[in-house]
Symmetry: C2
Subunit: 423 residues, 2 copies
């Protein structure tokens, strides 16, 4: 039976079998120290001979466990038998065991099956896996149902320019930019509270450290709300839950990147300021008039939140109508919508949606749209759709900001941008 690195201390004095990759070898006179890496950590193997295998060869080692306070985890294995499970060529594109900054982002992304072996890079995706779990657990605990909606959209409902076109048998469809209309359908259909964790696609030509063309969208939609304030409240609770769980379960991943989460207890006090107020605060601080909450303003408003409220998260609500999609619920010239900015980056857009059929009919011409263009979407509202709203969090951006990485692409296993379509 294979024993994992994290468990070898339980077998002191016993002969066990371990398997993994050769992480590093150090020769010391007649003795070699072979560091074996498995999914749970590193194991020091003491060999009375030279190690002829290249780094990254996959081995099974049989040997006796002995205590050694200098070994990783306080135990080492004295080699008795060694079997090669898989060979590794000697022309690794870069050594696995070095700081990711020395490798560089292009090499990291070009060679995912190698770069992910680096424990620091692997930590990104261990955390990300848990973020998916925390998000799902929180919403299930709050009466939400998980859905999976189609990503192949027959109508270009959400605006035609930034969508990818798919050849679909004898016709064309589009890759979904979001599950927006489907999650609204589910609220209207009586599920009331739904969430979805799936891919979303934006055919934007951006080439920045904050954009990818395919990302994982963690979406929420809920019925029987009064305004965006109900959404902001549940998102505060979500952030508190996630940060609490991360502190509890992911200290190793945080440590790998020298990162900390915001204080979960302060999440109740994340400031909520209007779009107008945000512009005013940023203008005053930057000493120039700001007309929009652009990336520079997002960084500045988080700085302000940190100084004034001790937490670098801030909700900005009451966005102007012209800055929001047609389906956003109006509030005079403003809307019942918001962004959540975290450590200088927008990670959520949300808001109440128009739920009355007549209001939607009146709104469409103002956005130069017709009922016909909306296709099946319009029928959601004809037969009793409760007041509702929702929001989405970009999984990669959330991961990036928690760990303090500089480029969102580092938080996608196989990112797609304008130029990158492999691996």
């Amino acid at each position: 039976m294979r024993v994992l690195a994290k468990d070898i201390g339980q077998y002191e004095g016993k002969e066990i079998s371990v398997s993994g990759w050769i992480h590093r070898v150090r020769e010391l006179g007649q003795i070699s120290f072979l560091i074996l890496r498995d999914r749970t950590g590193l194991i020091q193997v003491v060999c009375d001979e030279k190690v002829s295998e290249t780094n990254e060869t996959v081995l099974t080692i049989i040997g006796e466990v002995q205590a050694n306070e200098k070994a990783p985890g306080g135990y080492e294995i004295h080699l008795k038998e060694k079997t090669v499970l898989a060979e590794a060529a000697s022309d690794l594109p870069f050594p696995v065991n070095q700081d990711p900054e020395k490798i560089g982002i292009e090499a990291i992304l070009d060679n995912r099956s190698i770069s992910l072996r680096n424990p620091k890079i692997k930590a990104i995706f261990t955390l990300q896996s848990d973020l998916i779990r925390y998000f799902g657990d929180f919403y299930r605990q709050n009466g939400f149902t998980e859905i999976k909606s189609s990503k192949l959209i027959g109508h270009g409902t959400e605006g035609g320019t930034n969508v990818f076109e798919v050849e679909y048998f004898d016709t064309k469809v589009f890759l979904a930019q979001s599950p927006q209309f489907y999650k609204q359908t589910m609220v209207s259909s009586g599920m009331e509270r739904v969430f979805e964790i799936s891919h979303a696609y934006r055919a934007e030509k951006h080439e920045t450290a904050r954009h990818i063309n395919e990302y994982v969208s963690m979406d929420v939609e809920m019925g029987f709300i009064e305004s965006e304030m109900d959404l902001i409240q549940i998102q505060k609770d979500l952030m508190k839950y996630m940060f609490t769980q991360i502190r509890k379960n992911n200290q190793a991943e945080l440590d790998a990147w020298g990162a900390t989460t915001p204080d979960p207890e302060l999440c109740d006090k994340i400031p909520v300021i209007s779009h107008d107020e945000a512009k005013k605060i940023v203008s005053e601080r930057l000493g120039k008039r700001v007309f929009d909450i652009n990336p520079e303003a997002e960084r500045e408003i988080c700085q302000w939140a940190m100084e004034e409220h001790g937490i670098d998260l801030v909700f900005i609500n009451e966005f102007p109508r012209k800055k929001r999609p047609f389906y956003t619920y109006p509030k005079g010239l403003k809307t019942m919508s918001y962004d959540l900015v975290f450590r200088g980056l927008e990670i959520t857009t949300g808001g109440r949606r128009i739920n009355q059929y007549r209001m939607l009919q009146e709104t469409l011409p103002k956005f130069g749209m017709t009922e016909e263009e909306l296709g099946d979407y319009i029928s959601i509202f004809k037969y009793g759709c409760p007041p509702h709203g929702g929001f989405a969090i970009g999984l990669e951006r959330l991961t990036q900001k928690i760990l303090g990485l500089s480029n969102v692409k580092e938080c996608s296993l196989f990112p797609r941008d304008r130029k990158r379509i492999t691996p």
Copy 2:
């Protein structure tokens, strides 16, 4: 504060507020019984007046809770105040509250925001949401990491004919048929054990009750296995876990469809038979020579398993090489691969993969392939890839077979087939 249908019994004699859709109205002389539907159930509201609103109108009702053993859940509300949250047009495409069989599958799929209001149809997706959870929980408990891999593939690695083409800026990419190569990459990169729950795409021209062109694939891949028998063992454990959880949490959904799960305790005894044996058994039972495990044979072999082993699940392993993809690990003229057939339908394909670079190089020409065609895939194996394998379960098929539905499309919220691209 809104009270949900399931909780009103806690408020006997108190005035509460409830919200939901008008499910049905029954007039009895001067009194009307309004049945309100929310996400947790039905509430009887007693009104001293006629109800003028159409069915499916969304209301908030304030009134006093009184016990009445004839009301759903044993309690009813005596109306004091009624507010219309959203109107419903009177031209519903079909009444919400009837047996789905009377509605018909095309009308159900054409009008999802209406058909999902039917409690029996909603039950399909309540169960499906939980199936996603059970699958994730089981694998996390067993040391697996959840991944999200790209669905936009630069190379047509998995065979070019059944893929959808996407216009991607100045080039073309393909929609992923499975996360096959990505999950293998993750094993090779040291994650060792991964799972993914994401959409997959097959551009097959089938028009049957068992195919959809976009489905949710629940994928698993694990390192350090010896043969497909390790995968079969963990899948037996998975099925046992899922059926146990369903019996514990989803009795209402099973009841809605008059369904039962297989006995979880019998999952350890699911028979494993070779492809040759399966053909032999089916040939004998059908009284004609069977050359392949086609849909008819799948039904017959499950019948056999039920009669001989008391459970209508059966693993068929040792598929011939020519029936499996090039990456399947050979075992003479057969392969270390399997299908799981459940109630007459294949719900899983799995197997050990070739992990040695040299074996892969030798195999490719036999399948008329070259290293170049495989692009980045090949590099997974160059630098130490442990023995590994995996499998996938189609979420819609699993849901279908548990509830005993006749068409897999009923188990997709917004199914895509050759002709259907809306809603």
